[in-house]
Symmetry: C2
Subunit: 357 residues, 2 copies
């Protein structure tokens, strides 16, 4: 373990939202210092990090200062401008690596990569204009979803196409951005695997959780998921396949549809993932610490679950339920320190312990 980063070293985190916040706390637990790079002031991660470098992603001097002041760089979101990454990478290691970002920043590249590994995805086609869209609709059929290839999350940048007559509006919704048409997949439920790969190539996966979305945003993740043991094995093996193919270092979220024809990959996220928050109260080493361990070259936790857990997201006004939720001794509360509870904003989550695993 000669590459094991020593306690007292500083981990740089691009992005200062709730994921950066929980990564910072995990890093502190292992004795690391953290420096957050985030343009916004009073961001969730800044409350618990050692340093907050408040600057824009095109501020080269700030990026240099950041890279020079940290021992390794990681990130809490995948849409970091390429120019910033180029500069940072020339100075300090970035984990997970650039190839992963190139793959996952673009829905088209991501799906092509997954198919290349022999994994199933929804049917898809690139859509740059109305001619592409018409052709794609003929091939894939409606209903389908048009999505921007880049910068989409939590249902943003997406338009449903129920029939061909929705096509013009859907295309207009893309606002000129390159898009991808995705066909629907008939599935019984969605699960996700939070996988991790260490600097030495070791892979460890947490048990799959079962996800329920409401209005395009994750609502609950429940452990254990409804899976046969062979489905569970498939889920873990395909996650390992993705991690190994990318020479990945860190935690990755892999969303999977469970279908009659096997598991279909919905999307991958090269970072800690909302559907892995349950690990905070279900495992000795949670996804945040697992990610920090990986990027710091430490041995990974084994992902073993001591408790069954239901994670419930608190979106917008849901946070008003805290006084009630706090009365339940089996409910662990995790708030993100955001001042205003706007509609659709992730304010926190709770993990309810259901019993021993």
């Amino acid at each position: 373990m000669s590459e094991m980063l020593a306690p007292g070293s500083t981990i740089g985190i691009l992005g200062g939202g709730q994921l950066g916040r929980m990564l910072s706390v995990a890093a502190a637990r292992l004795g690391f210092k953290t420096c957050i790079f985030e343009p916004a002031g009073d961001c969730p991660a800044s409350h618990v990090a050692n340093f907050h470098l408040q600057a824009a992603y095109d501020d080269e001097a700030a990026l240099k200062r950041f890279a020079d002041s940290v021992d390794v760089i990681t990130y809490e979101f995948e849409n970091i401008p390429t120019s910033a990454l180029d500069l940072l990478e020339s100075l300090t290691p970035i984990r997970p690596n650039r190839r992963t970002l190139a793959v996952s920043q673009d829905r088209l590249t991501e799906k092509a990569f997954l198919n290349g590994l022999g994994l199933q995805t929804a049917p898809f086609a690139a859509v740059d204009d109305e001619f592409d869209l018409a052709e794609a609709l003929t091939e894939i059929g409606a209903p389908a979803i048009l999505k921007t290839r880049r910068f989409g999350y939590d249902g943003k940048g997406q338009a449903r196409i129920k029939s061909a007559q929705d096509a013009p509006q859907a295309l207009a919704d893309m606002a000129g951005n390159a898009a991808i048409l995705e066909g629907f997949v008939t599935f019984t439920h969605e699960i996700s695997v939070i996988g991790a790969r260490g600097l030495n190539g070791d892979v460890a996966c947490f048990d799959p959780g079962e996800n329920v979305h409401v209005d395009g945003i994750l609502h609950t993740t429940t452990l254990p998921a409804t899976l046969t043991s062979s489905q569970q094995m498939d889920a873990v093996l395909l996650t390992a396949k993705i991690l190994n193919a990318l020479d990945y270092v860190g935690v990755m979220g892999v969303e999977l549809f469970v279908t009659a024809k096997g598991l279909v990959v919905n999307e991958i996220a090269p970072r800690v993932h909302n559907s892995g928050h349950w690990t905070q109260n279900g495992c000795a080493i949670d996804q945040f610490e697992q990610h920090i361990r990986a990027v710091a070259g430490w041995p990974l936790g084994d992902g073993q679950r001591h408790s069954n857990v239901e994670m419930l997201n608190l979106i917008g006004d849901d946070v008003d339920r805290i006084p009630e939720l706090a009365k339940d001794g089996k409910v662990a509360i995790h708030l993100y320190g955001k001042a205003q509870a706007k509609k659709g904003r992730k304010m926190g989550h709770v993990n309810r312990i259901l019993g021993p695993a």
Copy 2:
């Protein structure tokens, strides 16, 4: 729950060591901001707190600024100068209360208080000079321990008296401070109860842990402790008695000797306690969050344990064992961010999950 402090409020913490650090993280988890008052720079708590007010305890302007900038004040150690408390209390509520500090800051007062509640302690006598000491030794007998009445912890300010001839040196070791002679208690083992009392008077205790000390410093705490169910009940009830008698708000550590004649109180600590660190990986709501919940007027966790745990302190060079310890997936690591591993210095701890409770 009208007195429930709203997320976004600021909790002031006197003292910036590892207990303040872990309290800060727990407060952040509930959406609170934290401000640490601590004379030392780069203290463990400052790494994860929103604000660090670095000033001395006799700096009245700084104390005022601190009290004015926070919604409630708590502390991680009991030896806060009285003058500072007087000033702070006139501006902002301090929890746990002053009476508790008056009782626990002085070993003599504490033992008298406990006896007053009908609880057993070691035999003791006040020692101000050689005449007191001679009389006390006649009454209590040797071997015995002479301790300063105030400001002792982790075996500091203590002198063993094996026979009367050790008396002069022991008294000299007190350096003129008022002292107390304590007789030895014959016990099979030591346990501690981490109890909590909420603002509304609710009491919740974590299960007792069994402590092993080495060189006067806590070495391990193991759950479950070796106790009959009636001993376990006694331990919890006497802890509740102490909490209620003090109109206590917060978490308290109660160290108990298990003897043939029942439980004997060794000492009480009006704060989160090293022997409660196991709760971080054994309970949905740990002692740090429990303390924050209490001082913030939130409902308490129920103290239920989901896993059996062994907590091991990392003292001084023990921290060099981290690479080895990190390989065990059942071991959760908690480091305090201290730069130098001095002899006897608490650098961190690990919680090993032993299995379901």
